[in-house]
């Protein structure tokens, strides 16, 4: 078995053309998913059953089923429903890109809301009591005390989720999208050289992962300035 270096040098630029799509999928889904997560979190900790119950069911379903199945349901499944075909969302849901964004966002939203919830639970009860004793309202306590600390506590798990999301973007290739993985698969289909192509693709993804982790490491360090004691 020979290692075709030329093939690697040829295919890398081709695969990198899919990087734009990969990054679009990543950032768009991350933004929408995080916004959704905040809404779900507020519903979950609201203390009102008619808000927290639907949120819990949503999270349970989206964390309990494979993301591939979720993608298939949205891309292949929704067009079956007349309701969907006639809705205003149809232009988005008709396109594989739109479906991928929707699926990834809905999925990420569920995971990230649990991550944020973990952060909120990690805030020392004494701090919340001190804020209450000072007269801050529930809303003020959440915004000025709980949220800043919860965000910092959530960062490690959140950065892991961003990496997961990036890996999930590769599944877009199963619904015809030509992200990096999609391009790689077409190259392999033509050249029958899975090692060269897939291994180089793997390296590209590892670089992306490394960049994500470095960025979050930097953010974490900045947010933890006050935690490092000078004693």
């Amino acid at each position: 078995m020979s290692f075709d270096l030329d093939l690697i040098l040829d295919s890398i630029p081709q695969m990198l053309m899919g990087l734009g799509l990969t990054l679009q999928l990543l950032f768009l889904s991350l933004a929408i998913g995080t916004a959704l997560a905040i809404i779900l979190l507020l519903m979950r900790i609201s203390g009102r059953w008619f808000l927290s119950a639907p949120a819990m069911v949503y999270i349970y379903i989206f964390r309990g089923t494979p993301i591939l199945v979720q993608i298939f349901i949205i891309y292949y499944g929704l067009p079956q429903l007349e309701l969907v075909r006639e809705s205003i969302l149809w232009p988005i849901l008709r396109e594989p890109f739109g479906c991928a964004i929707v699926a990834l966002s809905l999925n990420t939203g569920a995971y990230v809301s649990e991550i944020f919830r973990g952060g909120v639970l990690g805030v020392d009860r004494g701090l919340k009591e001190a804020a209450a004793a000072l007269g801050l309202s529930t809303r003020q306590r959440f915004i000025y005390i709980t949220a800043p600390i919860a965000i910092r506590l959530s960062l490690p798990a959140y950065s892991n989720d961003v990496v997961s999301l990036m890996k999930s973007t590769a599944l877009a290739s199963t619904i015809t999208l030509l992200d990096m993985t999609g391009i790689a698969r077409t190259i392999v289909a033509e050249t029958y050289a899975p090692y060269e192509v897939f291994l180089s693709l793997m390296v590209i993804y590892l670089v992306l992962t490394w960049m994500i982790q470095r960025s979050f490491g930097w953010i974490e360090k900045r947010m933890s300035r006050h935690v490092r004691s000078e004693i």
């Binding site: 078995m1 309990g64 199945v69 298939f72 292949y76 079956q80 890996k167 199963t174 090692y195 897939f198």
Partner: protein, 231 residues
């Protein structure tokens, strides 16, 4: 629902395949996790390096890429090997079940390595010292003291790994394994009801996740039973 008549059997067998895949991958995952964490914790620099490389690669690469690489890669490798014995052989197929279980086990095993490593570090060194003082050998200490103590700490995050494992089994359909997604696709060909059918697949997986979650909760209760008196 009538659309499903006649397909229940096939879904049942497909689900059985999922269960088989899950258990095979689970055993391998625990194995890889134990070996990996031992390598990371050992003083041998070479073992450390290999284990570090292992976790970095398999945690940073999309699961589907690992699957594709293993499936096509092993097919090519096997074909090459077979051609040495019989030049007439055109293509040897590597059973997707084994390619899939191995790939998934390596992926989840890399997460398990980190989890087990943390759990081993959390074992009270006093217990280990007591065991050695009583005359137990290194191996006996490992089996009878270290592993039970480590297991209690590792259980909650390992429960999450098991959930990831069951969901990743869905990806093996991409490389042709005849499990539930495959059945769904066939059924769609006949019934043209992709939404319903993929929803069934989702429900099957949700069922599996729920069983796993409940089982883990029971195991956690059992593992912590000696602590209840202290409460």
């Amino acid at each position: 629902m009538e659309v499903l008549t006649g397909w229940w059997d096939d879904f049942f067998w497909g689900s059985l395949v999922v269960v088989e895949l899950f258990f095979v991958a689970l055993i391998l995952t625990v194995l890889f996790g134990l070996i990996g964490s031992a390598a990371k914790l050992s003083k041998n620099r070479f073992a450390n390096a290999i284990a570090n490389g292992y976790t970095i690669v398999f945690r940073g690469t999309p699961e589907i890429l690992v699957l594709l690489l293993f499936y096509f890669g092993s097919a090519i490798a096997l074909t090459a090997i077979a051609q040495v014995f019989d030049p007439e052989v055109k293509f040897v197929d590597f059973p997707p079940f084994w390619a899939g279980s191995l790939a998934i086990a390596l992926i989840i095993g890399s997460y398990a390595t980190e989890t087990f490593r943390g759990a081993f570090l959390g074992v009270d060194p006093g217990q280990v010292e007591a065991a050695r003082a009583l005359g137990l050998s290194n191996l006996q200490t490992f089996i009878y003291v270290r592993i039970p103590a480590m297991w209690r700490l590792a259980l909650p995050p390992f429960g999450n790994h098991m959930l990831s494992l069951i969901k990743d089994t869905a990806l093996v359909a991409i490389i042709g394994l005849e499990e539930t997604l495959f059945v769904a696709e066939q059924a769609i060909g006949y019934t043209a009801k992709p939404f319903t059918l993929y929803l069934v697949v989702g429900a099957i997986y949700l069922g599996f996740s729920t069983i796993i979650t409940l089982t883990v909760m029971l195991c956690e209760k059992y593992a912590n039973r000696h602590l209840e008196i202290a409460k």
